[in-house]
């Protein structure tokens, strides 16, 4: 890929649009859930207001806190931003698309988890240790699925970079659609299986019901919230923002697996952006729907759900190696 000014400019615009939209998607899910429960619901832009408010508040650090406490929020936040730099959402040439290797993305997520759990353990609070332990418990179970999903995509498309992977799927789908013939390079089963698998992983990774509840602060049921219980002020703000970014990352990948449409030049951008937005709204609705109809499950039932996701991605990988 040779980058020119247009690529860089549009890549920058794409990055900023996704980063700015992230709290909106989280707020939209929240609003949907509340309306479905019969509540009036928050302002759809509430999470922007919260973030702004948190920035104005002072940071309360524990007296047992070390360097980790002041550093970890930034590293977690920047890890997600780094992934968003690599990820194409509606424009094919993301800013860091040249180095957007799938393994790197998976391990950047692990880096964020690593620092968030270290933050949790830094203040010597029992909740922090509990949260860190549970976070790794879920990560150990969901990371193999995530890597399997990425590697299945890489094997299916014979590409290693996430930008190339989705461009390949998009091209294949376009060709099949335009020529009307059933192209041999396109499979419907593989993206579909991977979508379901990734959906389960997203629910677990993003602390959603039925695995975890993002709204709870009850000691016994916290997963993600227990990690950032000690955070306050701007640290809490960027942790919260980071969790919206993480949700957006997963939703974006899901939207691209099932229905990839990325602009390759400036003229396609408006249409691609609109499509992206609609896709994300639908996915948000899906997440909200799952959260509404399911009760929270016991911790030790999570492995069963996650192993279903693993098996589905394994089937997808087996299907994707058929061509060789």
């Amino acid at each position: 890929m040779n980058y020119n000014a247009e690529h860089l400019a549009l890549g920058c615009i794409q990055f900023f649009i996704i980063v700015l939209l992230a709290p909106f998607f989280a707020g939209f899910i929240h609003k949907l859930k509340q309306r479905a429960r019969g509540q009036k619901g928050i302002n759809i832009l509430q999470f922007y207001i919260n973030f702004n408010k948190l920035l104005k508040k002072e940071v309360v650090l524990s007296k047992d806190a070390t360097l980790i406490s002041s550093l970890a929020p930034y590293i977690v936040f920047v890890s997600y931003l780094l992934i968003l730099l690599m990820l194409p959402a509606f424009y094919r040439y993301s800013l860091l698309g040249v180095s957007s290797d799938v393994i790197l993305i998976a391990y950047s997520l692990a880096l964020a988890t690593f620092f968030m759990t270290l933050y949790a353990m830094d203040q010597g609070s029992a909740f922090g240790g509990l949260g860190a332990s549970r976070e790794w418990f879920l990560t150990v179970l969901s990371e193999p699925s995530l890597i399997f999903i990425f590697i299945s995509l890489a094997i299916y498309t014979k590409q290693g970079r996430i930008t190339d992977i989705f461009y390949f799927i998009q091209n294949g789908a376009e060709n099949a659609f335009l020529s009307g013939a059933h192209s041999s390079s396109v499979s419907i089963a593989i993206p579909f299986l991977l979508f379901i698998s990734l959906f389960i992983v997203s629910i677990s990774e993003n602390a959603r019901i039925p695995i975890d509840n993002p709204e709870t602060h009850l000691e016994l049921t916290m997963f993600h919230e227990a990690n950032i219980l000690e955070a306050s002020g701007k640290h809490l703000g960027i942790y919260e923002y980071g969790s919206y970014l993480k949700l957006t990352i997963f939703l974006t990948i899901m939207s691209l697996i099932l229905f990839p449409y990325m602009a390759v030049n400036i003229y396609q951008v408006p249409l691609a952006l609109t499509t992206y937005f609609i896709k994300m709204i639908i996915l948000c609705g899906l997440i909200a729907g799952v959260e509404i109809v399911n009760p929270k499950m016991r911790v030790f039932r999570a492995p069963n759900v996650l192993s279903v996701s693993f098996i589905l991605s394994l089937i997808a990988m087996i299907l994707s190696i058929r061509g060789f």
């Binding site: 920035l55 104005k56 309360v60 650090l61 524990s62 007296k63 047992d64 070390t66 360097l67 980790i68 920047v78 931003l81 780094l82 730099l85 860091l96 040249v98 180095s99 290797d101 799938v102 393994i103 790197l104 391990y107 692990a110 690593f114 759990t117 270290l118 353990m121 830094d122 010597g124 609070s125 029992a126 240790g129 509990l130 332990s133 549970r134 990560t139 150990v140 990371e143 193999p144 890597i147 399997f148 590697i151 890489a154 094997i155 014979k158 590409q159 290693g160 970079r161 000691e219 000690e230 002020g233 701007k234 960027i238 911790v299 030790f300 492995p303 990988m317 087996i318 190696i321 060789f324």
Partner: protein, 639 residues
Amino acid sequence: MTHDKPNIIYRHFFSYLSILSAAFFTFLSLYNYNNEFILQSSLVDFSFKFSPFSILFVIFISLISIFISIFSVKYGEKYDKRPSLFIYAFFFILSMVILVISNDMLTFLIFWELMSIFSFLLVIYEGNEEARKAGFLYFLMTHIGTVLITASFIMLYLKTSSFSFDYYKGAAGIIILAAAITGFSIKAGIMPFHTWLPYAHPVAPANISAAMSGIMVNMAIYGILKFLFVFSSGSGSFLGIILLIIGALSGLFGIMYAMAQKDIKKLLAFSTIENMGIIFMGIGLSYWALVENFKSLEYLAMLAVLLHIVSHGLSKSSLFMGSGLIDKYTHTRNMEKLGGLSKKMGQLSVLFLIGVMSISAMPPLSGFLSEWYLYISLISSVFTGNLYMVYFSIIAIALLSLTGAAAGATFTKLFGITFLGRPRTENAEIAVEPHIIERIGIALPVLLCIFIGIYPYKIIASLNAVIFYLTGGTVSPYPLSAVHIINARPFSLYLPALVIIAFAAILSIVIFYLKIYSSNKKRIFETWACGLDEKNLKAQYSGGGFSSSIMKVFSSFYSSVSEINFEKDVKKYFRSKSVYTEEINDIFEKYIYIPIEKLYLKVSEIFNKMVNSENINISLGYLFLSLITCFILYIFIIK
């Protein structure tokens, strides 16, 4: 005072001597690139050769032993009373350096044995019951390995009738390779043969543990690479698949057991097993590709192996040195008794954190780079379309990803429980910042980890000489696309320098933005504990609690016994004291080694009863019988 003086001289003399000789061997090897020379003595001739492969290992050993020696200059002061440690350590390192440049089988075996003996002496150095037990197990296992290696060398000798390695090229068949690999994997601590490693590595003094885990296990890898890629006749692709699967299983078991440990050094020892497993996966893949003639995959997997050797050696030695300092300044290695060390040992905690990040493959450090290459080679092996390989590499990918995630959990536990939180006992409260020389000894390998992770082009370019020597091809160092798979097309790209620049740029923008647009007020206050005033520092989350949920899901990996004892109190929920004990047993030890040991004892007892009679005639009869057997052997087999 005068009494102590000679001891201090021992420590300083041998530490500096190690540094000097390591530097000497580095320059010697670089100066004598591809040269060979022979030392003649009346009994045997020692022949040496400086191939690129040997030079890599000479530089690797020398570098790490220089770091360890710098560290020992100060750290060793608690061993001044018995300075034999420094003498043994010097000869231990020396024998390893000479081992990798030896070019005939006798030299190799002599120095292999010297290495084993000196490391055995170092394992039993502490002299307590635990050390003696570990030492005996190590001595036994390592000599079973040596027997197998010697047997494979003898078979090679019978085949080529030469002692020199030069004649062994392409001579080793399947049986020779299998014997040699089994022998070497005992030294590497690969899974069914690993039992000695978690006992022997932790009981030695920390600088020796660092040398054993960082360097010595890699001598086994050296031997395996030499056999598979230099001596091998290039047959038996199933051997590669076996190595791949054994390596993957070893990695998973190693890290799962590491997670269960509370002794810091034992955790690190199990992590060595894991990393050796990862290296074995790469070797298996590379050998399979060699036999099946997938050239680019072979080079790629070999690069993953060599990078992982280097990065594991650097990070593991720094972590073992760090654990030694924790032991020295807190008098305990049990992480459940520690906590809050990063307030007392600020700089050490930063160094330890980077080492931990590198070994749990966090980008952008060197551990991630080698694991990335391994992942890419595994994906490439799927593209080869060979049915067996596709099948097994999918299994390997699954196991490797699970290993990677579990490594993250394990090292979060290690760092979080030991360095973060509040001090759990008195031991953690007395800690002070280690001496500057000790910190330098740890800082150097850690800095190298960062450097290799961020700017790997130079080291990959140098490793290419070794890859060329072993496999006959190279991997392009720049850009890291280098990943030409089967259809010779760049498959993926990882640009560490670009990624780290992007990371740093966003980080500074975010910090700058928040500095301007947010409140910079800070308040220091208590940790929130539900409003309770918790005085008991042990009431923090424990290491055992941290890993218990993961261990519960993977309970089939362990055979654990846990027990809660409490005094029979009237008050049911407010007990004054209760004791929880948990014992994690190695299932290999329980289901393989202990039954074998019992069987052996039984058989030898029966034999003892049969053979050892008090009647001298029967004993003479046995003597006669063995003489006849020897005659028969001589006539029918050797003649």
